[in-house]
Structure formats: structure tokens, C-alpha cells
């Protein structure tokens, strides 16, 4: 007996991007529609954890596609750009993300895990955000200490 196992290759290869890059996604599909129609194509990265998939909303891009009326299956294509907004601007952290593309108000959605590898977020921003709680504590202590000293002087 021969056990023949073959892994299907991923449709999309993982690709490296820097925070701040613009990504262009191209899609193909078939459609029918009774009237000329403009639809909205959206795309963006998503992260995956124990609780599911989470779209990075700050990075979602959108573009309009015009679909000429067709009562038989017609070929359609479209492209949409989205910006990998750096984390310092409220965007994406360094890491590996999936890519999701969909057409608004339809069932059309395509996605693939682990194809967008983001690097290049400046470490300065990270250090600042990491130190923020400590800075806040020091600030509060700086406000409280003079008050307690004043109270001590009054009671003494």
C-alpha cells in the first residue's frame, strides 16, 4: 500500500511589508447582475487569535468597481489599495497577518491567513508607549507628594 500525501500549495505566498507601505490587492470573480451596478471592494489585514479573526480597521482600504449588467456569467476584476498604517499612528503592529478582501453587501469574500508580514515599526514609538504607564505614575506621584508634605507641615 502506498500512502500518497500531497500538501496543496498556498494560493498566495507570504510577503514582507514595512509599516507605511501601500498594498495593492487584485481580485477576479464572475458575476451576474440585472442592471449596471457599482459595488465597493474592500481589503485589509487581519490578525488571528484564540477568539477568532480581527480586522485591523485602521488599515482597510476601499475602491469602487463598476459591473455592467449581464444576465450570463461575466468575468470581473478589480483592485484596491490599502495602507499599512504604522502603529505609532494607531495602525498595525509588527507581525504576521492574514489578508481579507470582500465586496460590500454581497457574499463575496476571500481571505488567506499569514500572508502579510509587517516589520519596520519604529522602536521609538514602542518605547514611549511602553514607558507611558510609568511616566503617568511618576506624574501622579509628583502631584501627590507636595500635597502630603503640605499636610504634614500643617499638622506639625
Amino acid at each position: 500500500m502506498v500512502l500518497d500525501i500531497a500538501f496543496a500549495p498556498m494560493a498566495l505566498a507570504p510577503t514582507n511589508f514595512n509599516a507605511g507601505d501601500t498594498v495593492r490587492v487584485t481580485v477576479s470573480f464572475k458575476y451576474v447582475v440585472g442592471v449596471n451596478k457599482t459595488v465597493m471592494l474592500l481589503a485589509g489585514p487581519y490578525s488571528t487569535n484564540l477568539f477568532g479573526k480581527h480586522l485591523v480597521n485602521a488599515c482597510v482600504g476601499q475602491a469602487e468597481i463598476t459591473l455592467p449588467a449581464s444576465s450570463t456569467l461575466a468575468e470581473g476584476t478589480g483592485s484596491v489599495d490599502f495602507l499599512l498604517v504604522p502603529k505609532s499612528s494607531g495602525g498595525i503592529e509588527d507581525g504576521t497577518y492574514g489578508l481579507r478582501v470582500w465586496i460590500e453587501d454581497t457574499d463575496a469574500v476571500a481571505e488567506q491567513d499569514n500572508v502579510i508580514i509587517v516589520t519596520g515599526n519604529s522602536s521609538g514609538g514602542d518605547m514611549l508607549s511602553g514607558m507611558m504607564p510609568m511616566l503617568m505614575m511618576l506624574l501622579m506621584m509628583g502631584m501627590i507628594m507636595p500635597m502630603t508634605q503640605q499636610m504634614g507641615e500643617e499638622t506639625g
Binding site: 494560493a11 498566495l12 510577503t15 511589508f17 507601505d21 501601500t22 498594498v23 495593492r24 490587492v25 487584485t26 481580485v27 477576479s28 470573480f29 464572475k30 458575476y31 451576474v32 447582475v33 440585472g34 442592471v35 451596478k37 459595488v39 459591473l67 449588467a69 449581464s70 444576465s71 450570463t72 456569467l73 470581473g76 476584476t77 489599495d81 489578508l99 478582501v101 465586496i103 453587501d105 454581497t106 457574499d107 463575496a108 469574500v109 476571500a110 488567506q112 500572508v115 502579510i116
Partner: protein, 200 residues
Amino acid sequence: MALKKLEMELKPFTALGEGAVALAEDPVIPGWYVDPATGQRVFYDPVAGKFFTAAGGVYIPLGYMNPAPKQVAVAPGDRLMVSISFKYTGPAVSGVTGYYCIGTNGIFGFDEKLVQLTTFSLPQVTSPPSYPNVTNSFTFTIPSNVDTNWDDIYVKIFGGTPSIGGQATTNYVFGYENALLVAGIQPTITEFKISDFAKV
């Protein structure tokens, strides 16, 4: 507009003195019944005029839907001819009703959107035919308000003299799921995939 065609072939059946005719009358009260052909317990709802069976805690209509062998693309204004054919053995029957329905099949039954009736006769046939010997058809005109989920079709035949079965109890019902690709106001999109992605 274009005339599209969808053909359906019902299972062969006989109409006289063989079980099915004994079910000619619909039950009059709701409740559980036993299908004499299969022994299956079924629930009859006289308001909906349908039989249901229970599975997983919900009532589902008895199965008669099948995957469509092909999809027919239609748009508002198109004419869609649905034709049925079947092998018939039995006496001549006049006034048989053909019930043609387009709609949405779901877990709670078939949501009928377009219904049309035809009347036709069955010839007297004494020996089983080797090929379908009865045909009937109806041509729908797809309305402008068609929705993209009106993609299922079923046909049943009933009544006649002598009766081949009641409207709700007829054994001669057959449907196709996803038989239509509807070009409505909203687009129907298939084979949606990412071709490429890259930095620009």
C-alpha cells in the same frame, strides 16, 4: 428577452391501485401521521399544506429537493421555461394540475415567490415505457423585483380524475436547489478570489 429552459425529470410512477392513490385526500387536522410507504412519522400542517419531519429539534419539510444538474442564468424580463417529463403507467387521467414554483428553499421549507399552475392529461399506458412519455411545461416571466436568492425550483403534480394525489399529499414532487443564477438588482458573485497582492 431571452427564453431560457430548465428541464426536470420526475421519477417514474403509476397512478392506479398502487398505494399512492390511497393518499388522495389531504388530512384535515394537524398532527402526526405515518407515511404508509416508508413508515416514517410525519407531521402535517393543514395551514401550510405541508408535511414535516422532526430532526435535531426542528421540523423540516420532507426532502424532495435535489442539487441542480445545471444553473440557468436569468434576469428581469427573461422568460424561463420549466419543463417536466416522467414515465407514466396507468389509466388515462384528465385534469392533472402541474404546480410550478420558484423561490427559496430553506430549513423551514420552501418560500414560494412565483407560483403558476397548468392543467394537463395523462394518457392510458398499459406497459412501463422505456423513456419519459409525459411532458408538461410552464414559462415564467422573471419579474423586475426578482431577488438573487430566488434560485430554487420545484414542481409537483396532483389531482385529476381519477386523482393521483392531493395537493399536500402528492408523492409527485421534485425540485432543484440553486437551479437559477439570478441577475437581480443586487449582483450575484461567484468564484471570488485574490489574484495577487503586492507593494505599490
